[in-house]
Assembly symmetry: D2
Homo-oligomer: 157 residues x 4
């Protein structure tokens, strides 16, 4: 795992195996499937935080508002990947995550995704409190970790 | 198109282009995608019969009850396919179709699929009258065509 | 797991989580994805038997020759499935498996699939010895288990 | 089509029908499938420019280097979409396109994608001349069209 990924206290990690269904005739994983891996990992991140069965409830929807992916190296058939998810910001009706895909220590792809909360009628809706609190807690823990790291570094000098 | 496909009066045909997303690292179309091509063709068969926006309505669902596919030859990147759909039987709450996938005259795959009509509560439900009538009409036309063909053959002898 | 699945000594089991990418607008898993789950499980069955990185080698290909699937009950978002694979017959250039998909003890779908071994030029090719031996061993173990079960039953009477 | 899309002389348009396989349990098109629609359209753009069977040749590969997608409105089951592709820049070993997805005049999603040309060994490789010339021609035509539009506007004032 990269230094930056490791140093993040709120970085969630999920293992994903690549199957032949994920590859294309170029012999590598089709570029839309990186985005599937990232969503699976967000779902598992929520599940690990006790937000089970969460996307697409009765009275609200979570949808991807925008996503940007950089493809650094090809992902291959049979690869055992580690996919990360780390919240980096939170607004009243949306939040953003940084996500990375690794084979061992090698960064294969990275993404930035914003998730919006919508009402049943597909209008922006405030995040549910429980979810918002969990996200703010993760952001606070990370802020704390960053400050501790700075402090340690200052003391070392 | 094969003789048997051509001779069928109620055989619906739909062109489908193969894209790289459909292929796998073996360089050919992944075997689950044949089943997607068959469903696209059933949807277009319904649309051509004025049953637009038909699957998954408010008060009933159509689901695949069973499917059997034979893979005769590999389907390749960039192939322009013809996929057929032909009803072969009809019950009160389900119907069956024969489907074939061709590149020009070459049969690449064939399938037999049964579609069941379910209520919102996922219990068997009678087919809507309009759909049932359309299917019975197609079956009757085919029966007629078969008998005409037999008659012609008898007169030729 | 069903009695028949449990009693089989050579039945491989693999857990698969359902993600939203697997579902369709009907709210259930799209029917082509059952076939993906079955192939993932066959890949893991081979991996567990030390046939790692096996499909689509340099000098031979394994392709699905035919598949038949019965859909018993809908598979839902977030389901944690158990998918099985059990070889039931073996010829010189192909072999067949029975596969089942369960949620806990409930059978959701079952399939019968024949895998053919092809040369690089896409002609039938004898199964590699190591694979054939592994399959024959599994078939023999199962035959043995069935006979033992019969014997026990006879002694019980 | 939006004014900006229409006014572009080099904007390629391709119709894509949404099938149930493209949707998810949220009742809308799964967000990774927008990226598949965009690649289908790029493939058709190349085909329309006589670059048939272009991706994944013997001695070079085209891969997506990065992609950014904004999801403006949900895409629905049965929608008949228009997807556009327009080159916006060209380097020696890569080029970028702007792509948009419309239902009638309504912009549903937009994307920015960079395609890199790689050698068989997955290293950056100069674009083939024929492709580079086609792209430069399209960029020149657009530049010309923009200048003509400015001129007309100036004369109108």
């Amino acid at each position: 795992m990269s230094q930056s990924a490791n140093s993040s206290i709120n970085c969630f990690r999920f293992p994903i195996r690549v199957y032949i269904e994920d590859t294309d005739a170029g012999g590598i994983v089709y570029h839309a499937n990186h985005i599937r891996y990232m969503e699976r990992t967000r779902t598992e991140w929520l599940r690990a935080s006790k937000f089970d069965h969460y996307w697409h409830q009765q009275d609200y929807n979570f949808v991807v508002h925008d996503i940007a992916v950089k493809y650094h190296r090809p992902i291959l058939m049979d690869d055992l990947l580690t996919v990360t998810a780390r919240v980096i910001s939170c607004k009243s009706a949306s939040f953003s995550l940084q996500q990375e895909i690794y084979r061992d220590e090698i960064l294969l792809a990275s993404g930035l995704v914003t998730i919006a909360c919508l009402s049943k009628e597909m209008r922006p809706r405030k995040l549910p409190d429980a979810l918002k609190n969990m996200i703010l807690e993760q952001l606070a823990l990370e802020q704390q970790a960053l400050e501790n790291a700075k402090l340690e570094q200052a003391q070392d000098n």
